[in-house]
């Protein structure tokens, strides 16, 4: 891909950050269970290629990740209870019932190690992902990226599971779809 095009796309994205940070635009998808909120935005391949390219990933190496069906997620614990969520317990479910797991960041990291990606780039990757297991104290929130194991066509729902002292819970994000391009 033309490097200038990548830079332009990425700069536009940066500009978008500052604009959105000012006006606090809402996410494209959001759902809540009690006071726990999950938000998501689909991520395209151009922006991810630019992001990781700027952190030292060769374009060919990051391509499988950039082209995977990916999202940026944000999760906020507005409840009074501590909660824990594991990415391995999340599932995307298509309209015809096909279930797809999310690929854990550790699985991607195995690829980066095999490909000889620099340690600095791997650190940036690791911390930019939605972590595979997170405990949220009341008031905590985290954002990060994640990908499906395989893409789903059309729209699908994402079931995110978490547990607290009261038991297991689900948050369902409806009408998600993989970004095009």
């Amino acid at each position: 891909m033309n490097i200038r095009l990548l830079i332009v796309c990425a700069l536009l994205g940066s500009a978008s950050l500052f604009v959105r940070a000012e006006d606090e635009t809402t996410w494209t998808h959001r759902a809540a269970q009690s006071a726990v909120m999950l938000t998501a935005n689909p991520l395209g391949s151009v922006s991810r290629t630019a992001f990781y390219g700027a952190r030292g990933f060769p374009e060919a190496t990051i391509r499988p990740y950039a082209q995977a069906c990916g999202f940026s997620f944000g999760m906020h614990n507005g409840s009074a209870d501590k909660l824990t969520t594991r990415l391995a317990d999340w599932q995307a479910i298509s309209a015809d019932g096909k279930r797809v797991a999310l690929r854990l960041p550790e699985a991607w990291d195995v690829e980066w190690a095999k490909s000889g990606v620099s340690e600095a780039a791997r650190i940036a990757f690791r911390w930019a992902q939605f972590q595979s297991e997170i405990t949220f104290e009341p008031g905590d929130w985290i954002m990060g990226m994640a990908t499906l194991e395989v893409p789903l066509s059309g729209t699908f729902r994402l079931v995110a599971r978490y547990r607290d002292d009261k038991g297991n819970h689900e948050i369902v994000l409806d009408k998600l779809s993989c970004a095009k391009g």
């Binding site: 830079i7 796309c9 990425a10 700069l11 536009l12 994205g13 940066s14 500009a15 978008s16 950050l17 500052f18 959105r20 940070a21 606090e24 635009t25 809402t26 996410w27 909120m37 938000t39 998501a40 935005n41 991520l43 395209g44 922006s47 991810r48 630019a50 992001f51 990781y52 700027a54 952190r55 999202f71 940026s72 997620f73 944000g74 906020h76 507005g78 340690e119 600095a120 650190i123 940036a124 690791r126 911390w127 930019a128 972590q131 297991e133 997170i134 405990t135 949220f136 104290e137 009341p138 008031g139 905590d140 929130w141 985290i142 954002m143 990060g144 990226m145």
Partner: protein
Amino acid sequence: MKSFSTSFPVPKAERRRFLYASAGLGLLALAPILRAQGRGMTSLPAPMPAPALRLLDSDGKPVDLAGYRGKVVLVNFWATWCPPCRKEFPSLARLRKRFKSAEFEVLAVNVGEDPDMVFSFTGITEFPVLFDRDSKAMATWPVKGLPTTFVVDRQGRLALKAVGGREFDDPEIVAIIKQLLNS
């Protein structure tokens, strides 16, 4: 901490690197900043000794958390590509100014980046910025995502924790730090 020169313009290569770096932020920005920053900090029920933290600052000088014993220290793990980290960063300086340097300090621990890139974002800071280039120091702390912030009490114990962005000069946080200083 040595002051950096403020005689801009920044060299071309550095500017380009910063543009690339900040450009990447657009990706996370495609998912806009959460409307709700987190609030407050969580008191850790059984304060344990803070893990060791010995890193170089922007000037290449070693900084050791143990040297701050007797002060309350806020330790913030962050990176320039992390939108909530960037958003909360100015509030660290505002918080730092609320207290005397003899009793309170902020240590901002940058993870995985180089000082030139970081300086392009921070400029001169009111507090030390430390560099954990290989994230080995952070790995010894109970961090599960960026940003994560701890407050270490006068006895060198982890007293408070916050995962996700905060406005650190929020009255709730200022009050709880005052409590620690007075305890």
